[in-house]
């Protein structure tokens, strides 16, 4: 701020006109640079979409939309048969597991941080939850194979099978702990802090008077949450969940490490599978034929389309939320 005073200091009369034109040029240069950078961000999105479609063009013209419903992936030369159905299924199941667990967990943590925890506890737990999101996915995946998978295989999966085995997705436990289920759990760990921290901020933005008013009328904390906080913040929380979903759909590395790179659709969640992102991560480096590479790009196109839908939904929902809060 001291620097600003120096910059704003009086000028001598002779330098005034020179200063004016320098200022005009300076303003134009700064505006131009800022606009250029902003346009580059837009260009990056367009370029990414173009690159995906361009890379996939051979596969798109070869397989067409039938690619989506086709469940074989045999890159070896005599077959060269590619389809995305297995990976669409794997993506849907792992993301569904992640969302089923992380939406209630994330919202609960957000409520704890915004309404339950004392101020000092909140100052410690909040950052710790956010640090969970900072763990690199490759480390989480590594931990998943070495630590979590044996535990799941020995304890949790047999337990779920014995209790809920009548449901087809809790099938008998296979010999390894890798599969759709552990991938869903790892994704849960990645998504929970996203939903929790965004939802907490939204809960904290709910007007205090409304909550105090409800409390003064005798509402319990749960009733304040149910009756006042959640109705106001519902769309914001939904937007946070969509952002979390976007993260779950697109995560490649940690899923690749734990999902087992299966080539078939299994009803049981304890079996192996693969997602769109993890198939690309797993096979792109080893792909040799043009059609193979192009088909992996095709998976990228599908993933990009799904991601855009999830992210734009989140934006639209949160716009509505902001408008509603502003109107209040």
């Amino acid at each position: 701020m001291i620097g600003s005073i120096r910059l704003a200091g009086p000028r001598t009369a002779g330098s005034r006109s020179r200063g004016r034109s320098a200022d005009r040029i300076g303003d134009a240069v700064m505006y131009g640079l800022c606009l250029l950078a902003a346009l580059l961000a837009v260009a990056a999105i367009v370029a990414i979409a173009y690159q995906m479609i361009h890379g996939a063009s051979a596969s798109i013209s070869h397989f067409g939309l039938g690619f989506l419903g086709h469940a074989t992936w045999r890159p070896n030369p005599p077959f060269e048969s590619f389809g995305a159905a297995t990976f669409l299924y794997g993506t849907a199941i792992t993301s569904a597991i992640a969302m089923l667990l992380s939406v209630p967990l994330g919202i609960s943590i957000a409520v704890y941080l915004a309404m339950v925890a004392p101020r000092r506890v909140r100052g410690v737990i909040g950052p710790l939850v956010e640090m969970l999101a900072a763990i690199p996915s490759v480390i989480l995946g590594f931990w998943g194979i070495i630590v979590l998978a044996p535990f799941l295989q020995a304890h949790l999966e047999p337990f779920l099978h014995s209790v809920l085995g009548f449901l087809p997705f809790f099938g008998p436990t296979p010999t390894t702990g890798t599969g759709l289920f552990i991938a869903g759990l790892i994704l849960t760990i990645m998504v929970v802090p996203i939903i929790a921290s965004i939802s907490r901020d939204i809960f904290l933005s709910v007007p205090r008077e409304l909550q105090e008013g409800a409390t003064a009328l005798g509402a319990t904390r749960w009733e304040v949450l149910r009756g006042v906080v959640l109705p106001i913040s519902a769309s914001g929380v939904a937007a946070a969940s969509f952002l979390g979903l976007g993260r779950a759909l697109g995560e490649a590395i940690a899923v690749t490490q734990v999902i087992g790179a299966g080539n078939a659709i299994h009803g049981s969640w304890f079996q192996t599978g693969d997602t769109l992102a993890s198939r690309i991560a797993d096979q792109f480096a080893g792909a040799t034929s043009k059609l193979d590479i192009s088909s992996l790009f095709y998976l990228g196109v599908i993933l990009l389309a799904i991601e855009l839908v999830a992210n734009i939904s989140a934006q639209l929902i949160s716009r509505g939320f902001e408008r509603r809060v502003a109107a209040r």
Binding site: L101, P104, S108, Y112, P136, S137, W143, P193, T215, A216
Partner: protein, 329 residues
């Protein structure tokens, strides 16, 4: 999972709720009922109220359990990494290359550490000025029409799976050329860019309008106001978001597996423009985790510990920085 709302244990004792207190007095008919003779007597809850309070406590307990679970998972992951890395961690692990004979124990990850630092630093050098310029554009120049599309683009870029960014940069810089540390830096820069831009935008919005108006009233031109008043006032906030973006990008693995995997792991290389990739920690952990070899695992845990410690420390530092700046504001 046992910590869904409503299924938690009932043993917690939340602070008293607003309505009434749980005294041991016999139930009264109500606040203004004829049975209540002394209005200053503690009010005893009715059965209905007791049930409502019980439900409220149940949910509070579930929410507390959920928070505890998240912290516990963080603790378990950090502990697992630290415990398994302990056997290999030493000064030599940080300063030496891989062992000379294959699959032998010992050795270190110095080339990977240096390579990661080079890739991430170059990425930050690309992304930081651009991110600040975009943040400036959004707060200082953008109008009603031009702001939302840029913000949307940043949010979409932020939600873009890093694997697709990897494919994009692969098609842009590697096809027809070769892998390089530079390509990896570009990919990480794309990951950092929206984080820095949105972070910058948020702190710039916090700079009081009165500062800008004061500069304007003194006849200071816009660009001088931005450079001399607005940016210095937002300095620590911008630094915070840059540190957080670097911490996020440093652990990104998905782009690197296309862009910086072919390299000589024995050589400490500083040149991101050489004709091959740079050794880096994320890909090192990824390859080791896909292999089946005990000594490689030990080194991978060591590398994971180094990376995790750096990232968590950067997060703590950014938080401390942010707290200091918000205190001084």
């Amino acid at each position: 999972m046992t910590d869904l709302p409503g299924s938690g244990p009932e043993t917690s004792d939340p602070p008293p709720t607003g309505a009434g207190s749980t005294g041991e007095e016999p139930p009264s008919t109500g606040l203004f009922g004829t049975d209540v003779t002394d209005p200053f007597d503690p009010l005893a809850p009715s059965d209905h109220l007791r049930r409502r309070q019980f439900v409220s406590r149940l949910f509070t307990a579930g929410q507390t359990t959920a928070a505890a679970l998240a912290v516990a998972v963080l603790g378990v992951v950090v502990y697992s990494v630290a415990a398994r890395a302990a056997s290999v961690l030493s000064i030599g692990f940080l300063t030496s290359g891989p062992p000379t004979t294959l699959n032998a124990p010992g050795g270190g990850v110095a080339p990977e550490i240096v390579g990661t630092i080079v890739i991430v630093a170059l990425g930050a050098v690309i992304a930081t000025p651009m991110g600040i310029l975009i943040g400036l554009y959004l707060t200082e120049f953008a109008g009603r029409r031009s702001g939302p599309p840029i913000r949307l683009a940043l949010d979409l870029l932020n939600g873009m799976p890093s694997i697709l960014i990897g494919l994009f940069v692969f098609g842009l810089l590697v096809v027809g050329h070769h892998q390089s540390g530079f390509a990896a830096s570009v990919a990480l820069a794309i990951i950092m860019l929206p984080l820095i831009a949105r972070g910058t935008q948020e702190v710039l919005l916090l700079v009081p309008v009165s500062l800008r108006e004061a500069a304007q009233a003194l006849g200071v031109s816009r660009w001088r106001t931005v450079l001399g008043v607005v940016l210095p006032a937002a300095r620590s906030g911008i630094l915070t978001s840059t540190v957080l973006a670097v911490a996020r990008a440093a652990g990104e693995t998905a782009p690197l597996i296309f862009l910086s995997t072919i390299y000589n792991p024995n050589i400490v290389s500083l040149n991101p423009f050489s004709h091959e990739g740079l050794p880096n920690i994320p890909f090192y952990i990824f390859t080791a985790s896909e292999a089946d070899e005990a000594s490689g695992f030990a080194r991978a845990w060591g590398a994971a510990f180094v990376l995790l410690a750096a990232i968590l420390l950067a997060n703590i530092a950014a938080r401390a920085l942010n707290r200091r700046s918000s205190l001084s504001r």
